[in-house]
Amino acid sequence: MNTIFALRLPLATSLAAADVPWRPFLDPMPLAWFDAWYLWMIPLAAFVALSYKAVRAYDIKPAPFLRGVAIMTVQIILGMVALAAASYLLVEVFVPLVRS
Protein backbone atom coordinates (compact mmCIF):
# COMPACT_ATOMS: atom_id res chain seq x y z
CA MET A 1 0.00 0.00 0.00
CA ASN A 2 0.99 3.63 -0.24
CA THR A 3 1.23 4.28 3.48
CA ILE A 4 5.00 4.40 3.61
CA PHE A 5 5.12 6.61 0.56
CA ALA A 6 2.37 8.77 1.99
CA LEU A 7 4.56 9.63 4.96
CA ARG A 8 7.03 11.24 2.59
CA LEU A 9 4.41 13.48 1.00
CA PRO A 10 4.02 17.08 2.13
CA LEU A 11 1.26 17.66 4.63
CA ALA A 12 -0.54 19.81 2.08
CA THR A 13 -1.39 16.68 0.12
CA SER A 14 -3.47 15.25 2.92
CA LEU A 15 -5.05 18.58 3.77
CA ALA A 16 -6.13 19.05 0.19
CA ALA A 17 -8.79 16.42 0.67
CA ALA A 18 -10.43 18.58 3.31
CA ASP A 19 -10.15 21.84 1.40
CA VAL A 20 -11.98 20.81 -1.75
CA PRO A 21 -15.52 19.47 -2.17
CA TRP A 22 -15.61 15.70 -1.96
CA ARG A 23 -16.49 13.88 -5.19
CA PRO A 24 -17.69 10.40 -4.21
CA PHE A 25 -15.91 7.44 -5.84
CA LEU A 26 -13.32 9.80 -7.32
CA ASP A 27 -11.71 11.41 -4.27
CA PRO A 28 -10.98 9.71 -0.95
CA MET A 29 -13.52 10.33 1.79
CA PRO A 30 -12.79 13.25 4.14
CA LEU A 31 -10.18 12.37 6.74
CA ALA A 32 -12.63 12.67 9.62
CA TRP A 33 -14.23 9.42 8.46
CA PHE A 34 -11.06 7.58 9.41
CA ASP A 35 -10.58 8.92 12.94
CA ALA A 36 -12.19 5.72 14.22
CA TRP A 37 -10.69 3.64 11.42
CA TYR A 38 -11.19 0.36 13.26
CA LEU A 39 -14.98 0.70 12.87
CA TRP A 40 -14.52 0.05 9.16
CA MET A 41 -14.13 -3.62 10.04
CA ILE A 42 -17.87 -3.78 10.76
CA PRO A 43 -19.01 -3.23 7.14
CA LEU A 44 -16.02 -5.28 5.99
CA ALA A 45 -17.11 -8.24 8.13
CA ALA A 46 -20.75 -7.80 7.11
CA PHE A 47 -20.00 -7.83 3.38
CA VAL A 48 -17.64 -10.79 3.73
CA ALA A 49 -20.29 -12.72 5.67
CA LEU A 50 -22.98 -11.79 3.14
CA SER A 51 -20.91 -12.94 0.18
CA TYR A 52 -19.73 -16.13 1.85
CA LYS A 53 -23.15 -17.16 3.07
CA ALA A 54 -24.62 -16.42 -0.37
CA VAL A 55 -22.52 -19.16 -1.90
CA ARG A 56 -22.24 -21.58 1.02
CA ALA A 57 -25.58 -21.60 2.82
CA TYR A 58 -28.04 -24.14 1.45
CA ASP A 59 -31.05 -22.33 2.88
CA ILE A 60 -31.39 -18.74 1.74
CA LYS A 61 -34.81 -18.06 3.22
CA PRO A 62 -34.52 -14.54 4.68
CA ALA A 63 -34.74 -15.37 8.39
CA PRO A 64 -32.17 -18.19 8.67
CA PHE A 65 -29.95 -16.59 6.07
CA LEU A 66 -29.82 -13.20 7.78
CA ARG A 67 -29.30 -14.88 11.14
CA GLY A 68 -26.36 -16.78 9.65
CA VAL A 69 -24.92 -13.58 8.18
CA ALA A 70 -25.26 -11.78 11.52
CA ILE A 71 -23.61 -14.63 13.42
CA MET A 72 -20.73 -14.81 10.97
CA THR A 73 -20.28 -11.03 11.08
CA VAL A 74 -19.94 -11.14 14.85
CA GLN A 75 -17.60 -14.13 14.62
CA ILE A 76 -15.31 -12.28 12.19
CA ILE A 77 -15.24 -9.17 14.38
CA LEU A 78 -14.54 -11.19 17.53
CA GLY A 79 -11.83 -13.09 15.69
CA MET A 80 -10.15 -9.87 14.59
CA VAL A 81 -10.38 -8.45 18.11
CA ALA A 82 -8.88 -11.66 19.49
CA LEU A 83 -6.03 -11.53 16.97
CA ALA A 84 -5.39 -7.89 17.87
CA ALA A 85 -5.33 -8.76 21.57
CA ALA A 86 -2.99 -11.68 20.93
CA SER A 87 -0.68 -9.46 18.90
CA TYR A 88 -0.71 -6.85 21.65
CA LEU A 89 0.18 -9.45 24.28
CA LEU A 90 2.94 -10.86 22.12
CA VAL A 91 4.56 -7.50 21.41
CA GLU A 92 3.96 -5.70 24.71
CA VAL A 93 4.16 -8.56 27.23
CA PHE A 94 5.84 -11.72 25.99
CA VAL A 95 8.62 -10.23 23.90
CA PRO A 96 9.72 -7.83 26.70
CA LEU A 97 9.67 -10.81 29.09
CA VAL A 98 11.90 -12.85 26.80
CA ARG A 99 14.26 -9.94 26.25
CA SER A 100 14.59 -9.09 29.97
Binding site: N2, T3, V20, L26, P28, F34, F47, A54
Partner: protein, 185 residues
Amino acid sequence: MSTRGTADPGEHFQPLAAILAIILPGLGQIALGYTARGLIAMLGILGLFSLGLLAGGLNCIDSRENRVWFIGQALVGPVAFGLDALHQSRFKAFEASPAGNILNRPARVPGPSESFTLRPDGVRVLTPLPSGGQPPIVKSIGRANEIGTLFGAIAGMLNVIAVIDAAWSVSRRRRDAHKAQEVPA
Protein backbone atom coordinates in the same frame (compact mmCIF):
# COMPACT_ATOMS: atom_id res chain seq x y z
CA MET B 1 -33.83 -33.40 -5.00
CA SER B 2 -32.26 -36.22 -6.96
CA THR B 3 -30.68 -39.13 -5.17
CA ARG B 4 -26.93 -39.35 -4.77
CA GLY B 5 -25.22 -40.73 -7.87
CA THR B 6 -27.96 -39.69 -10.28
CA ALA B 7 -26.62 -37.74 -13.22
CA ASP B 8 -27.61 -34.09 -13.08
CA PRO B 9 -26.31 -31.42 -15.47
CA GLY B 10 -25.73 -29.14 -12.51
CA GLU B 11 -23.44 -31.59 -10.78
CA HIS B 12 -20.68 -31.26 -13.34
CA PHE B 13 -18.31 -28.46 -14.15
CA GLN B 14 -20.22 -25.53 -15.63
CA PRO B 15 -17.81 -23.58 -17.87
CA LEU B 16 -20.40 -21.05 -19.03
CA ALA B 17 -21.44 -20.27 -15.47
CA ALA B 18 -17.79 -19.93 -14.48
CA ILE B 19 -17.13 -17.49 -17.32
CA LEU B 20 -20.23 -15.46 -16.49
CA ALA B 21 -19.18 -15.37 -12.82
CA ILE B 22 -15.80 -14.01 -13.84
CA ILE B 23 -17.42 -11.35 -16.01
CA LEU B 24 -19.70 -10.13 -13.23
CA PRO B 25 -19.85 -11.42 -9.64
CA GLY B 26 -22.99 -13.47 -9.07
CA LEU B 27 -23.88 -13.76 -12.75
CA GLY B 28 -22.83 -17.41 -12.85
CA GLN B 29 -25.29 -18.35 -10.10
CA ILE B 30 -28.04 -16.35 -11.84
CA ALA B 31 -27.35 -18.19 -15.12
CA LEU B 32 -27.74 -21.51 -13.28
CA GLY B 33 -31.13 -20.43 -11.97
CA TYR B 34 -30.01 -19.47 -8.45
CA THR B 35 -31.19 -15.90 -8.92
CA ALA B 36 -31.48 -14.90 -5.27
CA ARG B 37 -28.14 -16.49 -4.42
CA GLY B 38 -26.46 -14.71 -7.34
CA LEU B 39 -27.98 -11.35 -6.51
CA ILE B 40 -26.89 -11.62 -2.88
CA ALA B 41 -23.35 -12.60 -3.92
CA MET B 42 -23.33 -9.68 -6.36
CA LEU B 43 -24.50 -7.33 -3.62
CA GLY B 44 -21.84 -8.56 -1.22
CA ILE B 45 -18.89 -8.51 -3.59
CA LEU B 46 -19.68 -5.37 -5.55
CA GLY B 47 -20.90 -3.67 -2.36
CA LEU B 48 -17.56 -4.28 -0.67
CA PHE B 49 -15.68 -3.19 -3.78
CA SER B 50 -17.80 -0.03 -4.06
CA LEU B 51 -17.37 0.78 -0.39
CA GLY B 52 -13.60 0.58 -0.86
CA LEU B 53 -13.87 2.86 -3.88
CA LEU B 54 -16.00 5.26 -1.87
CA ALA B 55 -13.53 5.28 1.02
CA GLY B 56 -10.30 5.58 -0.92
CA GLY B 57 -11.36 7.03 -4.23
CA LEU B 58 -10.41 5.91 -7.70
CA ASN B 59 -6.76 6.26 -6.74
CA CYS B 60 -6.95 2.96 -4.84
CA ILE B 61 -7.24 1.02 -8.09
CA ASP B 62 -3.91 1.44 -9.75
CA SER B 63 -2.26 -1.37 -11.67
CA ARG B 64 0.95 0.61 -12.17
CA GLU B 65 1.70 2.12 -8.77
CA ASN B 66 0.01 -0.56 -6.68
CA ARG B 67 0.42 -3.68 -8.78
CA VAL B 68 0.43 -6.33 -6.06
CA TRP B 69 -2.84 -5.15 -4.55
CA PHE B 70 -4.32 -4.70 -8.01
CA ILE B 71 -3.83 -8.44 -8.62
CA GLY B 72 -6.28 -9.04 -5.78
CA GLN B 73 -8.66 -6.34 -6.99
CA ALA B 74 -8.53 -7.69 -10.53
CA LEU B 75 -10.21 -10.88 -9.32
CA VAL B 76 -13.46 -8.88 -9.19
CA GLY B 77 -13.35 -9.01 -12.97
CA PRO B 78 -13.75 -6.51 -15.80
CA VAL B 79 -15.11 -3.90 -13.39
CA ALA B 80 -11.67 -3.54 -11.80
CA PHE B 81 -9.88 -3.48 -15.15
CA GLY B 82 -12.30 -0.85 -16.47
CA LEU B 83 -11.82 1.40 -13.46
CA ASP B 84 -8.05 1.00 -13.67
CA ALA B 85 -8.12 1.87 -17.36
CA LEU B 86 -10.21 4.93 -16.54
CA HIS B 87 -7.75 5.92 -13.84
CA GLN B 88 -4.69 5.48 -16.04
CA SER B 89 -6.13 7.11 -19.15
CA ARG B 90 -8.19 9.97 -17.76
CA PHE B 91 -6.61 11.07 -14.49
CA LYS B 92 -2.87 10.66 -14.93
CA ALA B 93 -0.63 13.08 -16.78
CA PHE B 94 3.01 13.58 -17.70
CA GLU B 95 5.36 16.29 -16.54
CA ALA B 96 6.52 18.46 -19.45
CA SER B 97 9.20 21.08 -19.87
CA PRO B 98 8.25 24.60 -21.06
CA ALA B 99 9.37 23.48 -24.49
CA GLY B 100 6.83 20.68 -24.36
CA ASN B 101 9.17 17.73 -23.87
CA ILE B 102 7.94 14.99 -21.57
CA LEU B 103 10.22 15.03 -18.52
CA ASN B 104 9.09 12.22 -16.34
CA ARG B 105 7.59 8.87 -17.18
CA PRO B 106 5.37 7.19 -16.17
CA ALA B 107 2.38 9.45 -15.86
CA ARG B 108 1.20 10.32 -12.36
CA VAL B 109 -1.81 11.74 -10.58
CA PRO B 110 -1.69 15.55 -10.32
CA GLY B 111 -0.65 16.92 -6.94
CA PRO B 112 -2.83 19.19 -4.80
CA SER B 113 -1.69 22.32 -6.68
CA GLU B 114 -1.71 20.77 -10.14
CA SER B 115 -4.13 20.06 -12.93
CA PHE B 116 -3.57 18.84 -16.46
CA THR B 117 -4.39 19.77 -20.02
CA LEU B 118 -4.82 17.64 -23.09
CA ARG B 119 -2.38 18.60 -25.80
CA PRO B 120 -3.34 18.43 -29.49
CA ASP B 121 -1.22 15.28 -29.83
CA GLY B 122 -3.41 13.56 -27.24
CA VAL B 123 -0.85 13.60 -24.40
CA ARG B 124 -1.99 14.85 -20.99
CA VAL B 125 0.54 17.17 -19.38
CA LEU B 126 0.57 18.52 -15.85
CA THR B 127 -0.14 22.22 -15.44
CA PRO B 128 -0.38 24.52 -12.41
CA LEU B 129 -3.82 24.55 -10.83
CA PRO B 130 -5.72 27.74 -11.72
CA SER B 131 -6.62 29.96 -8.78
CA GLY B 132 -9.72 28.61 -7.07
CA GLY B 133 -9.63 25.44 -9.14
CA GLN B 134 -9.90 21.87 -7.97
CA PRO B 135 -7.47 19.09 -8.91
CA PRO B 136 -9.00 16.57 -11.34
CA ILE B 137 -8.54 13.88 -8.69
CA VAL B 138 -7.23 13.84 -5.12
CA LYS B 139 -4.61 11.22 -4.31
CA SER B 140 -5.65 9.02 -1.42
CA ILE B 141 -3.14 8.39 1.34
CA GLY B 142 -2.99 6.85 4.78
CA ARG B 143 -6.05 5.07 6.16
CA ALA B 144 -8.26 6.05 3.22
CA ASN B 145 -5.89 4.39 0.80
CA GLU B 146 -5.35 1.36 3.02
CA ILE B 147 -9.06 0.71 3.55
CA GLY B 148 -9.98 1.36 -0.08
CA THR B 149 -7.24 -0.89 -1.38
CA LEU B 150 -7.90 -3.65 1.13
CA PHE B 151 -11.66 -3.72 0.55
CA GLY B 152 -11.15 -4.04 -3.20
CA ALA B 153 -8.67 -6.89 -2.79
CA ILE B 154 -10.91 -8.78 -0.36
CA ALA B 155 -13.84 -8.34 -2.76
CA GLY B 156 -11.68 -9.94 -5.43
CA MET B 157 -10.87 -12.92 -3.24
CA LEU B 158 -14.54 -13.34 -2.39
CA ASN B 159 -15.29 -13.42 -6.09
CA VAL B 160 -12.93 -16.38 -6.46
CA ILE B 161 -15.19 -18.25 -4.03
CA ALA B 162 -18.23 -17.15 -6.04
CA VAL B 163 -16.65 -18.32 -9.31
CA ILE B 164 -15.81 -21.72 -7.83
CA ASP B 165 -19.34 -21.98 -6.50
CA ALA B 166 -20.80 -21.15 -9.91
CA ALA B 167 -18.59 -23.70 -11.60
CA TRP B 168 -19.44 -26.61 -9.25
CA SER B 169 -22.36 -25.17 -7.32
CA VAL B 170 -24.95 -27.92 -7.25
CA SER B 171 -22.69 -30.83 -6.39
CA ARG B 172 -20.89 -29.02 -3.57
CA ARG B 173 -24.02 -27.64 -1.95
CA ARG B 174 -25.88 -30.93 -2.31
CA ARG B 175 -22.99 -32.78 -0.70
CA ASP B 176 -23.16 -30.38 2.24
CA ALA B 177 -26.90 -30.93 2.49
CA HIS B 178 -26.37 -34.71 2.55
CA LYS B 179 -23.80 -34.35 5.30
CA ALA B 180 -26.19 -32.20 7.32
CA GLN B 181 -28.94 -34.80 6.95
CA GLU B 182 -26.66 -37.64 7.99
CA VAL B 183 -25.75 -35.95 11.28
CA PRO B 184 -28.56 -36.37 13.83
CA ALA B 185 -29.82 -33.07 15.22
